[in-house]
Amino acid sequence: MENFLQQLINGLTLGSIYGLIAIGYTMVFGIIGMVNFAHGDVFMVSAFIALLIFLAVTQILGIASLPLAFVLVLVAAMILTALWAWVIERIAYRPLRGSFRLAPLISAIGMSILLSNFVQVAQGPRNKPVPPMFTDVIAVTDGAYRVTLSYKQILIMLVTALLLVGFWWLVQKTPLGRAQRACEQDRKMAALLGIDVDRTIALTFVIGAALAAVAGVLYMMYYGVVNFYDGFVPGVKAFTAAVLGGIGSLPGAVLGGLLIGLIETFWSAYFSTDYKDVAAFSILAIVLIFMPSGILGRPEVEKV
């Protein structure tokens, strides 16, 4: 039982990070029908940005308060990563809009390789250690098996929950969110109503990247190490989460993220760490056989 509780906590933490990344995949897919394969690498870049800013803030500016440093890092990483995403969309995707369907996809794969190689060259191929932070833990149960909830885990779940609420409000209640949904449903009609479609798409990339940046900061802090290769596996997992939840669906992305996080964690705990990825992807395959559009996705056919 204690083990179960502990794994549940760990799984939800990991799932939160996947969920944040998955939103970027699902939003971009919703609005332009493209899988942004560079999104995982944008996430990785954000973790590096976070590390560099963290070092700058604590060692050059000499800010000793960890919460203040964390907030600074979070905000700066979100802004800089969003800027990256904006540039990427501008140079790699926008010129290809209206071209054949696979063109932006290939461009995205190219961008993914470019980003990871760029970081490899600029930051070196080895693991970058991150100074430990928020190391305190709370003991949930006492006894032979102590179930713990670390400050980091609380922070991750809290930040994720807050962001999701804010993000949901943005999409459902603001003119920008409405414009995004309109572009998702009928781009031409949105333009006829005076919506700047290109700008709306660019903002979608930017928002997705800002959420991925939060995931990047949390990931860096949680694992205490970043590597240029870290965009790939978490990126694929988050993409899997988006598909599992139903690509295009925002609640689906979060649900999928949490499920993948939980499956992976429980599988590692009860069976074997070696096959945790196999478990996650097998569940995806099984779900897709019975629910081809994902758990919360809508079927392709629609009444017109």
């Binding site: 003119p175 409405r178 414009a179 949904r181 309109a182 449903q185 009928d186 031409k188 009609m189 949105a190 333009a191 006829l192 109503l193 005076g194 919506i195 700047d196 479609v197 629609e302 009444k303 017109v304």
Partner: protein, 240 residues
């Protein structure tokens, strides 16, 4: 006489290497209802979309309120307050009726949103009952009303209506045409109407154009066109 609100001169539109409009000239003056009639595939909807820059005219000139708009992006044309209720209605299916109307008011920066919403609900009471329902669940007639109301929410200077009668019961068509007539009469709304239903359209409009294969072949006042034997033969016999 001052320049018409909308002036189209020698407009050619191509889809790839197929020509859809072969040099169209037409005018819409402030306060007029002008209709463009013609058979299926004549290029009427293309004309409508070309005014909005989607697709863009390959050559020729489109002037609106003294501004050359043929090279402007669609959303900027819309912001000049040219509103379109397009072919196929294009309601956002997964947005509520209310949200669809909000989308219409985006250009107007929601300055008159509450008043205009009230007005639309008076014009189209059905929409009020359906306000919280998703656009995709409405009937065809309701969707048409919503498409027109959404276009009106922007307080347009020019309203483009593409086949508002398509697929609707005659009683609803009469209702919709009556509303257009009233809006024109009371508020001086300028309307450019594309229709296959030539009889109703010509009776409603001050002036009309007939389009055949991407070219204007006839023009004149509504009654004038209604009376012409060639119009009767081609578009009216057995029609209404």
């Amino acid at each position: 006489m001052s320049e018409p609100l909308l002036t189209v001169r020698g407009v050619e539109t191509w889809y790839g290497n197929i020509v859809a409009l072969k040099g169209v000239d037409l005018d819409v003056r402030e306060g007029e209802i002008v209709t463009l009639i013609g058979a299926n595939g004549a290029g009427k909807s293309t004309m409508m979309m070309t005014i909005c820059g989607a697709p863009r005219a390959r050559s020729g000139s489109i002037r609106f309120a003294g501004l050359e708009i043929s090279q402007m992006p669609t959303h900027e044309i819309a912001r000049l307050r040219i509103a379109q209720s397009p072919e196929g209605r294009r309601i956002f299916p997964r947005m509520t009726v209310y949200e669809n109307l909000q989308m219409g008011a985006a250009i107007d920066k929601f300055a008159h949103f509450d008043d205009d919403l009230e007005r639309m609900f008076t014009l189209f009471p059905r929409l009020k009952d359906r306000a919280r329902q998703r656009g995709g669940t409405l009937s065809g007639g309701e969707q048409q009303m919503l498409a027109i109301a959404r276009a009106l929410m922007s307080r347009p200077r020019l309203l483009l209506l593409d086949e508002p009668s398509l697929g609707l019961a005659p009683i609803i068509v009469r209702q919709i045409f009556q509303i257009i007539r009233e809006l024109n009469h009371r508020e001086g709304l300028t309307v450019f109407l594309v229709e296959q239903n030539a009889f109703h359209a010509l009776r409603l409009a001050h002036r009309g154009y007939v389009m055949v294969n991407g070219l204007i072949t006839m023009s004149g006042s509504g009654e004038d066109l209604l009376a012409r034997p060639e119009v009767r033969a081609a578009y009216l016999e057995g029609g209404h």
